[in-house]
Amino acid sequence: MEQNLLVEKLSLQAESFQEGFKLLTQSDSLKGIFKNFGNLLRTNLMITDLHLLHKVSPESDWKVIGSQNFDDADKKYLENNKQQTTYHDGGKYNASVVLPLTDYSYLGILMGSKLYEEGLSDFDKITLQILLQVFSSAYESFLNQKKEKQFIFDLNEKILQLNNLIDTGIDLAKFENQNILFEMALARMVSLTNSSSALIRVAEGNKEVAAQQVTFPPGLPADKILNSNYKIESSFEFRNTLYRFVLSEKESRKGVIEFGELDMMLLEAISRQVRTAIENNFLLKESLEKERIEKEMLLAASIQQKIIPEVLPVIEGYELAGENIPSREVGGDYYDCIDMGNGRYALIIADVAGKGIAAALLVNTLNASLYSYLQFNLPLTEMADRLNKLIYNASPPDKFITFFMAVLDSKSGELDVVNAGHNPILLLRKDGRLDKIDAGGIGLGMLDLGIPYEGQKLVMNPGDKLFLYTDGIPEAMDKDEIEYSDDRMIEFFIKNADKPAAEFISGIVGDVSKHVNGEPQSDDITSMILKRT
């Protein structure tokens, strides 16, 4: 009869046990499942004095769960407990339980007085055993759920790491300045590796002092990262600059842990991406700079070409022709024949030391100054002196101009000449004599010592020929670096001087071209011939 009553009561409680199992498995934490189990015990067994304890291994100490007024000395009820459940008659506790759990930890239960101060009945004892089994199963299920969640979390984390790594490569390639690049790289590094902080340190050459230092979180002192006991590093060198990457303190829910192999791989992968971004940015800047210089060169070339005469004046009783063939780089050759009025003409040939924009600008300065000075009919030597001062003040120390100028009185054939450091100008007389005109002084802008320029007066008679040229002709080289030479130029001049002026100029250009035989032209080639007919 009593047995039947017991079975009936237990079957009535079956639903409550099922609810209890559900409640336990839905607990949000380990603490939660213990707390919920405590409540189950209290309600099912009407216990008012209940303490739950937990120890993670047989050797570790019992930790009290939730109870505020537990006497540590009572742990002895659990230490001496060899059996799972021990019932005590007349003691402080009605029962003590040590329940081995599936993760090799232990749950300790100390059950004191009941609500109406009764001892545990047989029904209570059976209920307790069932609840212990319910808890065991629920705890195992809870752990499995936790493991499953952790597994899904870990899997998602790996997907995230892979995704982040791909995104980082794309994002880093788009950076505009190095600071932004570093900030982005640091943010991705700490996020991917769960680091607390990170640093990128840039130092030039072997210098200890950092040229640039960026930390994450921003504002964190670099020393705090560098002096950390838990750190990993990666570095690379690019153009004599060392880029050092440091990650500090890998986080876990249990505190700081050691970095793993995967963290090192991720750190190296991102530092490689940073290197690629820096290299690409450098190459892009270099290519843009090259493009900019090429544009400037084209501009300079167009400036230079504008001051080279398209058509030379026609001088009565004379034949005049000239040509300028600029090299690929903008050079500094210049020639002109300026009509000064009253049958007077200024013939100029000049060569700026060096090439490029600076040379082109200097030629421009010379051209503008010449036009200005020629209005005042200054003596040629004084004009050379003034030009020297002007160019000296307007140009850097390594820039100067070799310059030859002759003012021709076309009626009388008188030539007033000055040669400021230019190659000797050749005057071939009708009778075959060759005069080399080199009277003058130093190149314009070379020095400003007040040394006066020396002029020379000559007369061009009918049949005389004046040949002006720049060093681009005699110094033109073939593939064996053999120059065209002064001798070959003079020989060509003597042999071909009787040809029409334009034909002579194209002829000497052709002869130089034949000599270099396709080698790139390294200097401007400029020549002009004046023949008195």
């Binding site: 995230l160 982040n164 996020s191 979180p217 504002g219």
Partner: protein, 112 residues
Amino acid sequence: MDGEFNLQTEKLENTFLIKTEGYINNTAGEKIAQFFAENPIKNAIFDLEKSKVINSIGISYLLEVIEQINDREGKIIFLNLDPSIEKTFKIMGLFQFSQMADSLDSAMKELA
């Protein structure tokens, strides 16, 4: 500033507005978890405007908070997510049990 994480909370009608500032990592996660342990609230709006970086430890704390709020049949809404954090949340599955809103107003309407 030395990179310290800050948490600001404000009660708004039937919810809490939680504003974070700084790296959402373990330290930040503990602060967030502590707030929710001390305030078992039903609904929450997280404004992450001033947090641009999060790690997986920080995410694990947020997942726990989301679970707690779901158990209470409440709602959790995120605001002002940096695109990289939004992508992270998608991959880590946070939006299965939480939402994202364009503004505080729309978040409040969602919770009304």
